[in-house]
Subunit: 479 residues, 4 copies
């Protein structure tokens, strides 16, 4: 049966030999045994197991129309609204397992690949484009239930409006085309879970003007010449008391360096064609389907944040204060807004070349609002927690000779000190720890700099109905 | 045919003799001929005419299940989602005629009466309550297509938390109960369109604790002892060039003074029962249906505001600036949010005692967001218009000897000076004139002080799902 | 004695025959008798009388070092910090009379002329520049205690970054240079008090690149060919009860049209030299001294606003609510900030070519903060006043048969209805009337679009100390 | 010579044997050798050395009027404005060494003790008060140049308005009074640098109503029965490249548990007198002088933050974008505001019982503005840094085989990858690391919950001048 189990996943990742650098050391251990990666890989394992639960079968899987195999819903091309709703249920079922905190749960990239493949026809007849390879690759991936990460951000070295005039040689680019394939050299940034998935999908920034930077391909994580350099780890404790989130969900981000990596032709979907890249990005199912995945996940994350906030309020007995009510009410309104926008986007979706797509503009707005809201809400949690966000002894303290004193002196309304510190540690880790602020930064820039997202929203809006209403009051109509 | 025409309406209002004080003078003219009231009454007339348009029949009317008569949709008790959607179409059809700026278009109070009547069973068997009179009154009102205003706000003289300890004698209250009916003395505030509708529906503030202030009744506008004292008028010109909005939509607000007004028993629905009043307010269809009306209308108002904003942007050729894009994008997001929340509330509605009600909490959030958004957006329009919001000569200037100079020197991108000033006058009147700021204040406090609305949202929220998610990360689950 | 009395002022203005268009009519009355202008001219009269009060002599006047005459302090070139402080006292003494609401009280433009004259040396030896005429003009103006308005804003027809490529022919520009002087044709915007002062000082926008738009000159208000076209008036009542502010302080703004106006050479200070114009603007005492005037005045305006806000709070007995405390506290902090910045700017001022100038950057920040703060604070007042900002009957109502009822029913804590409505009318007029919103718009754009002011603040800041501190943490210093 | 050197300090702290619990272990090492504490103790050492620099003698020290000894300026009771300014120079000289990030640099508590001692007369003749002991203690402390921390916050277990009704037994309180002294049992929160200073000054929360919780005393850090339980450490690397801030400035916060601690009488300044405690808090020099210290320090911290922000801007070449300009301009305005308020407070200070105190209200406003500003500004830095705040490899990576690649691929405008990552790590550590967010939380709640500080500002303001201005416009003055 094509969908894999958690154990299958761990076995497959454990067999890979990617080049990962962490703290100046090349990782030598089997990844599932490595203290840095075992938490996140275990959480991935649990997701794959959920896919196999019989009672969730209708949500998490579908039967392949071609092979009859049972495939994960994250690989489902939605043909109608029901498919889209099924996808949402799948996304949120997984997200509940991770509190919406795993940005690269398998559904994210599976959705991306599915979306690109469902739009492969856009590449037909274009130079340097191989739509049939893309489709075959997708078929293969879903049959094997492969896991992916991706990278498309270029090194951030000059962000001025004239930067394109630079002879910029840092970005990963094609340096040779041979009978074997294309050869790639340079760097890409910020591959979350870089090195710990089966595959790495690589594509250009949609705005590239340079032929040698215009490509789309996928390679196994342990391809020769490919190195992943990890950022500082935000995992500070393996204890799920001390670190209920990072101990399970520190995904790691890495810089990717392509040292003359050869990509075989059957894995090249586009090359040397900037227009094809930007057309595919703009016109394919990628944006609507991946925004749909993101917003579905963000809703769960926001629910967790609200749950934490309200738990603080109850533990401190501060529900009567207006400024407290206002903060939580803001968060609730933000949540309901996201839910309603998602719902609206699904209902107002439409079919395009056989794929039922959610309403793109609405999802852009949802994700843009989340960019504003999430950081604001995490700040509210900091306000609510106040000094309790700093008084955070550890599991070891509660197990020490001082344990009873701490349990007594740190009690709250209905919680003993150990329970109460567990709650405050969760709130702290979610909003103030290095792990939590990276989550905030991740959402703040999700799907692009908010300045750009805002611009897109403005520039693609029609204003037709609005202008019509204005006319009514500019004409002096005698009726 | 029960639904009336605009002419019918004007004739009926013209025949009334209410006591209205304006600028220290008792109004003596027939209302439709009075310079202060003819603009708004004419706009009401147009609304009634729309109700009669054959092509809008399916939206604007329904057939009475009892009499077979054609009744206005604003009197329709929604029995299912389709009825609710039909109501929205009716509301927005009317709102498009007024740019959403007429707070007391007939549908507002018709909806209120319809909602109360549909919940009349809540009054059954309670002391001082007459559910059958309420229902009969509703039947009669819809057959005659009556127009209403209402009042329930008490004089604003002490807002401290201890105010209820005052022997407060300003509020309108029952001072006698006789065989004829109840006698009412005192004041109520802020009846919009007070004096220019057929009827005045009066009910207590839901939080009243005082028996003599607990009532609900309706009386004709020209009832003996009833006086309407108008605030300063915000109508400064009858010219639709100078004043495209106020010349048509200045509704007037008035203070109502009850000088021993006798309300006959058949018009008394509740008296001397504070619990009945607050139960009806809280549990009837009133809040969900009137919020549904309000949000439907506000959406059109916001569309007009956005249309005006974008028109300014185009006239000044400033679409390229990020801060401009950000402002308009904010407004668009606010609009889509309102649309999605309304849609969600309709879809997630549920039947209650035979009435299909939209999702109340969601509509509360929508109206609360609008309280924040609308004032913010009007301020953005002021930013966009800049000095152009002050350089506003009048129609008379364009007709004078200076007209050609002004047409030339005040030109914008594609507009001559006269057209451009028309646009800026509209923007100014909507956001900066006394008429416009009253509109902003109206929305800011619509359905209650935002502080209270926020509190309600917080206090009625369940947090169940959110708390569930938190638990996941507080238990140290070995999996 | 050179300083004039209020009566002198009224007599002089009354004798002028400027061309003013109001509502499509050419003004024919003597200005001090005209219902539109007598309120503001009377307020100006009071300011001139204050200048003559013996007890204020030390603040309001100084003795000319050349003629020995008594001159108004607004014409004082500050030679040291004490002079600057004296100027502030003069400005605030006048501002207290007007609540800081008269943007063009005589000190504003007198300060401007004084500043330009004190920097006349900057024009020396430059083409098209006549520093000696500027200085002589200043000497003459202060001896005669002339009053001024000015204009420099061009018609607002295209604000895109490429607008300068337009052959823009709307702006007032020099169309001929003859033995008599220069001839000017075109339009300028937004002369506040345009037409009702002795003189009109005209200069180019500092960024002009066009020779024919580069000039600086002054002409009498009733110069041939000069027309002032007024915007819609915001004066709705001459009653100081109904309209405590506009009845005294509606200054009017006007569009100025130059129809081949000849400016005699002795009144031309700069022509055909864009560099001289922008150098004088940027490097003269104009910016520091006029910002000093503005911030001094704004402080008084803010005090009035705070006084009104706190009066509302007391009348409604709402001081106990946190959101009320927060609003007023914000306003107080804004006030103290402005006071401290002004004080700091005076103390950190420095002499430049014999003139003691306040610290320019600090004043730019103060004025930029006021651009943000003032609109925000007026909105807070609207929040505090709530429905009371709409229930505003007029003086005539209190004088009518309903007067006693209104006095009774509209009472507040310690005020009868008439007193309480007086307070709420003041709050309304200051923040919500057409007069009030124009005041808000005026402050929001005072000294330029906030976007530009912000840019200037950023671009002229040194960052030296700040960068020094950073270095400390980038070097790995072994100490 | 009384002022000590860094070496003296280290020796003295090294000789103490306090009971400190860290991660469930009792600290056994000599503190200056402990990896957790050596960074912060070394930074303290540097501060004491600065005090000894001959060229800083005039700023950092003064001569005792009684003993003739050279004393640290942090112990100086200001007798006039010059003393106050000298104190500011001392504070900022030290703050520059720490970037303003050391909340408990010696001047903070030295100022507190100095302030209390200078107001000892307030305790005279009051029950349970020993002003002469307080003064003697101060004399002794300054002669020995002791270092302090303090604690006064109670465990945060119930924050409702009715919490005082609880029989709350968690707070540290007097459980016995014997001939030896008072015996204290219970907990206090959040002693920053708890355990690593010479002394611990303890006082009640000013609002206590309970006699047994009303006290003020000081005890040596290694007093019997006293335990410090550390929160989780935020020190993740001793490398000043990886962790330029925490490696030097992680101060640690601890929970203090009093297990029947006996405080000898000569160290008890107040006991059993809640009124004396709250009077001393409210009326002594403590608030003005410690706010003066805080604001002086915060200014340096803000300068560092601005330096970091502008460095990011330059490294990314984004100075041309309006939203970037706006962010930095906000920060500059906040800085100048703080500087001006501090300056104003010093200038408007006044003598009180022989002590020259800065203007208290103004400093309250400054610190309250900083509570709002600092978190907002750190968020701006996160925006500016964008994805660069996540791509942060470590020193070890640059020293590894990948070093050259990273230096190349992570380069910015004028920085190689190693330099650029150093900058971004600094920005990240300051605003996003667990260390940085604790700094933000510290400032957000400095001198109390912003809700309370706001309330104090409102409730202690006079409004006299403001109400005077209002009257002008409420009277209908005929002039």
């Amino acid at each position: 049966m094509p969908i894999i189990s958690g154990e299958d996943f761990i076995r497959r990742i454990g067999a890979m030999k990617p080049t990962i650098w962490l703290n100046g050391q090349k990782v030598k251990e089997r990844l599932p045994d490595h203290p840095e990666f075992n938490g996140i890989l275990n959480s991935q394992r649990l997701l794959y197991d959920i896919q196999n639960k019989p009672e969730l079968k209708d949500i998490m899987t579908f039967q392949s129309e071609t092979t009859g195999d049972i495939i994960g819903t994250s690989y489902l091309i939605p043909r109608n609204k029901e498919d889209l709703v099924k996808r949402r249920h799948m996304i949120q079922t997984w997200a509940k397992e991770t509190g919406g905190l795993m940005g690269r749960s398998p559904d994210y990239m599976n959705t991306a690949l599915t979306a690109f493949a469902s739009s492969a026809h856009l590449l037909e007849g274009k130079e340097g484009c191989f739509p049939e390879r893309l489709q075959a690759f997708y078929e293969n991936a879903r049959q094997r239930d492969l896991s992916f990460t991706h990278t498309f951000i270029n090194p951030q070295n000059n962000r001025s409006t004239l930067a394109y005039l630079d002879e910029n040689t840092l970005n990963a680019r094609i340096v040779d085309r041979t009978s074997e394939g294309i050869m790639v050299r340079g760097a890409k940034l910020l591959a979350t879970q870089g090195g710990i998935t089966d595959e790495l999908l690589v594509f250009s920034t949609p705005s590239t003007r340079d032929i040698s930077e215009a490509y789309m391909f996928s390679i196994p994580t342990d391809t020769k010449g490919l190195s992943f350099v990890c950022r500082q780890s935000f995992l500070t404790s393996q204890s799920s008391y001390n670190s209920p989130l990072a101990s399970r969900l520190e995904e790691m981000d890495s810089i990717i360096i392509f040292d003359s990596v050869v990509v075989p032709w059957e894995r090249v979907f586009i090359y040397d064609n900037p227009y094809a890249v930007s057309d595919l990005y703009r016109d394919s199912a990628f944006i609507p389907l991946n925004l749909h995945q993101a917003v579905s996940r963000q809703i769960i994350k926001l629910e967790l944040l609200i749950g934490v906030a309200e738990s603080l309020v109850r533990s401190l007995a501060i529900a009567e204060y207006h400024h407290v009510q206002e903060k939580i009410a803001s968060m609730i309104k933000g949540l309901r807004t996201a839910q309603a926008l998602l719902f609206y986007a699904e209902e107002k979706g439409e079919e395009q070349d056989g794929v039922y797509l959610p309403h793109r503009d609405t999802l852009y707005m949802a994700v843009n609002l989340f960019q504003e809201h999430y950081p604001k809400y995490t700040e509210m949690v900091q306000h609510l927690g106040a000094s309790g966000m700093i008084s955070i002894p550890s599991e070891e303290d509660f197990q020490s000779q001082m344990g009873n004193d701490l349990r007594y002196y740190l009690q709250a309304n209905s919680l003993n000190g150990e329970e109460r510190v567990a709650l405050f540690r969760l709130a702290w880790e979610l909003t103030m720890s290095s792990f939590g602020t990276r989550q905030t930064q991740f959402e703040r820039f999700f799907f692009g700099d908010p300045v750009r997202v805002t611009q897109t929203i403005y520039q693609t809006y029609s204003f037709e109905e609005e202008m019509e209403l204005v006319k009514k009051f500019l004409r002096d109509e005698e009726q």
